[in-house]
Structures are given as structure tokens and as C-alpha cells.
Symmetry: C2
Subunit: 233 residues, 2 copies
DNA sequence: TTAAATTATTGTCCAAATTACAATAATTAA
DNA sequence: TTAATTATTGTAATTTGGACAATAATTTAA
């Protein structure tokens, strides 16, 4: 124990926040939802939406609250990324921030600026301005985490609709990894993932409609339990 | 923004801690270094060593301090795993804890119980008792993170000596993943990792000594920069 | 000094996965 | 009915991965 051990209560002088990185894809690009700060510090700079966590609030709950306040979206799974805590990262005090992310389909909802900020916008990762705080760093680390999790956990099904076509599935990976895959080969690659094929087909498309699939959670978790399986993309 | 937005300063009522999971291998098993708590809460229960973070202390710095106090070891890279923050996880107040881990060679050092606790011990993951707080959960999540990072980042070189034999390299993965690999095949698998082969050989072994290698950081990071490379095991 | 024992290192063969690309099937729109 | 479009399946070549054998280098014991 350190020399300068102090009273337990003296430690209760920090705040913690969540920062929510919402990734979305459109026009062949991955974008993040940013807000323009309407107040000090970093007034008028773009920033990742975040908020302090209430004292009795769970971390994920806080992340989902921020998402809801910004987008009106509910029931979107948020994934924890990393925690950032350099002593001086927040000019007003010691604030340690836990980053969460989600992957969304931009066209699925309307952003509501709400009380947050003057402006809310999807910004391409390719074209990122200087952000408030250490948010550039948080954003790029979290993008790496997104890719890592897409490769090792079935989080793709959090963002895909309940029933999806194999092409939609493929496009998600194409957008996230910014590269095209061969259709036939992609289908071979996902053969090990338990999917349920439905009789239903895509509607309202002006070409041959694709078959709809859904993720077979039960079979998946059975495979995981029995250690006979690991998700790999 | 939530209805019950309160003053900024009211949020500074929480504490942060780091929990340091030290994984080590010996006798063909992965073990974690645990302490027996000498005080309330959870007195006499085994726990992951951790400590509150000082107000002006960086997270990694705190993790390295805990490691040092417990083992006397310096300059071991600690890796961030996940952050745990259920409101009631600590009976004395809201404490959010950030878990860090390191992988060590048990025979490389002596544990010093120091002021920490009555007892310090390496405990096999196979044979884990009920731990204090939510430490069983933290431990198993962090073990998963260790394996994930071993597969996707070159953290193995943090724990290997600067110059190592290919067998030592292989054994590290064998211990972590609890399975044996074929020597010849392992060598093929790591062909893409930039290693420097030295003329030097293993000393004091009673058999043909193996050649020593070291990790070529420069070549590695060049490959990463230029996007011509991803670490995969 | 030599042979046996031990471990390092390299090679080979076969099966499985990956890649590039082609062929066929189903549907819409004209 | 046909052209256009996209879905789906197939095939052949290449690369990777796993099982196992062969050879090389070194120590130890006879």
C-alpha cells in the first residue's frame, strides 16, 4: 500500500462518464454521430456524445440513456470498448470515461438534436475534424474495437434486422472493413454460423428477391457452451 | 439530457479502482495471483489485488503500482481489459473498477505479501474458489480478454524475454490456450511475424540448444503502418 | 571416443480452406 | 417473351493447416 494512503472517502472525488460512439454506414462509408458542443469547455467543437453517469446508474444503462436521448432509439445493444482516464483529460476535474459503441443503420432513424447541442451530424471517419477532449483518440480506438468484435463475436446480428438477406450480412462487413468481398466466398465463410433459412423473401425489390435468414441464437449458444465452436470472421 | 440533471460537482462522489489480474503459468496450468483480504469487506476471502486510483494518477500507472507493490516487479506492461461498474458491486460506495492484466512467468519473481494481505497465492483457474466482490466475473472476463489479445496483438512479446527460443514462444500459447501445438506447424504459423534470428544460442540446457530470436518491432510497426499486415495467431 | 538420448529444425504429404471466376436460376420490367 | 438484374451454386487452382517423418546438433553416459 502506498505511503500516502489517505482516507477512503477522499477518493470519492472523481466523476465518470460514458461516451457513446454511434457508428453508421451510408454511401459506402462508415460514419460516426457527433454533436457540436453548445457549452464550455470546447464550445463549438465537435465531440462524441457522452454524459456523466448518475450515482445509482449502471454503466450500460447510462450508455443506452445517452443513445436514447440523442436518437430516440431504444433496445440497441451497446458494447463496451475502453476506458480513458488521463488525469487532465477533462479541464474541469478528474473525469474517467468509459466508451461504448453501437453500429446502426443510418437510414433507420432520425437524429433528434434534443437538449444536447446545437448540431448533430454523421461525420465520415475519413474526414474527421479535431474533436473536443481526447475524442479523436477515443474514436479511433473504438473503431478498432468495433472491428475486433465484428471478427470475434456475433455483434453483427445486433444491427442487422431480425430477418436479413445474405447480401445485407455481407455489406455490413464490407462497410466496416472498407473492402469488397466475393459473394460466393463470403457465403462459404459464414457456413459455420448457425442461420435459419426462411421461406420468406425480400419484398419490393426490382429484381430477383433474396431469401431471408435469421440468426439461430439457440444453436449458436449451444455450440459455445459445449466448446465446439468459436465465432470467427 | 435527463430530467434530474444535477450540479456538476454532485457527480464527484464516486471512486475508481484498478484490479490487476496477474496470470502466470507453471505446472502446465494458468494461474492467477490472488490475495486473501485481511480486512472488511469480504474479510478472509480471496480477491484480485486492486487498489483505489489516486486523484492525480493515470490508470496504467495505478495498475503498475499495484503490480509493483505486490510483486516488486517493474516495467511489466499492463493491458486494459474491461470496466465493471454495477452500482452495488462495492458495499461501501460506488466504486467503478477498471481491470488490467499481465502475463508473467511465475518462476521469474517472488511474490511479496507486503502490506496487502495476510496471504498471497497463485491459484489455478481450474480450481477457483468464491472470490470477494464480483471478482469471479472479472477474472473470467479478463481471461477471455487475455486470449483475445494474444490472438490479435503481439502482447506475447511483453512477457517473453527479450531473446527467446521458438519453443518458449510456442509454450506461451500452449499454456494460455491449454492445448498442445505441433512444433513444425507452429513454426509455419508464425512465419509472418517479423523475428530477428540471432547467432546466440540457449545456455545451460542438457541437450541441443535452440537458437534465440527476438521480436522485430521496427519491421512489425512498419507493416502495421502501411496496412500490409495484421497480427493473427 | 563413441553411442545413446534428447531436443531442434526442416521437409513431405494430404486434407481443408481460400480465392478467383464461371455458370445457372429466379425474378422484374419492358 | 426477352433483356436486365441479381441470387445462388459450382469448379478449378492456390494457399494454408495438420499429421507425421526425417535429419541435425548437442549432451551425457558408457
Amino acid at each position: 500500500m502506498s505511503m500516502y494512503r489517505i482516507d477512503f472517502n477522499d477518493f470519492f472525488t472523481s466523476a465518470f462518464s460514458v461516451d457513446c460512439i454511434l457508428f453508421g454506414y451510408s454511401d459506402g462509408e462508415i460514419k460516426a454521430l457527433l454533436i457540436k458542443r453548445a457549452m464550455q469547455p470546447f464550445e463549438n467543437l465537435w465531440a462524441i456524445p457522452g454524459d456523466l453517469i448518475y450515482p445509482d446508474e449502471d454503466l450500460e444503462q447510462a450508455a443506452e440513456r445517452v443513445l436514447f436521448e440523442l436518437t430516440g432509439l431504444n433496445n440497441i445493444a451497446m458494447h463496451q470498448s475502453q476506458t480513458f482516464g488521463k488525469p487532465n483529460r477533462h479541464p474541469q476535474g478528474r473525469v474517467i470515461t468509459i466508451s461504448y459503441f453501437a453500429l446502426l443503420r443510418i437510414e433507420d432513424f432520425e437524429v433528434k438534436a434534443s437538449s444536447w447541442a446545437g448540431d448533430v451530424q454523421w461525420v465520415s471517419l475519413k474526414n474527421m475534424p479535431d474533436l473536443a477532449f481526447d475524442h479523436n483518440h477515443i474514436l479511433s480506438s473504438t473503431y478498432e474495437m468495433l472491428k475486433l468484435k465484428l471478427q470475434n463475436e456475433p455483434i453483427c446480428f445486433d444491427v442487422l434486422p431480425e430477418r436479413f438477406t445474405l447480401n445485407e450480412f455481407q455489406q455490413l462487413y464490407e462497410f466496416a472493413f472498407e473492402q469488397a468481398f466475393d459473394k460466393a466466398n463470403f457465403r462459404k465463410k459464414i457456413k459455420h454460423i448457425p442461420l435459419i433459412a426462411h421461406d420468406e423473401k425480400q419484398q419490393n425489390v426490382k429484381h430477383r428477391p433474396a431469401k431471408l435468414f435469421s440468426f439461430d441464437k439457440i444453436a449458436y449458444f449451444e455450440g459455445i457452451e459445449q466448446n465446439r465452436y468459436t465465432f470467427k470472421m
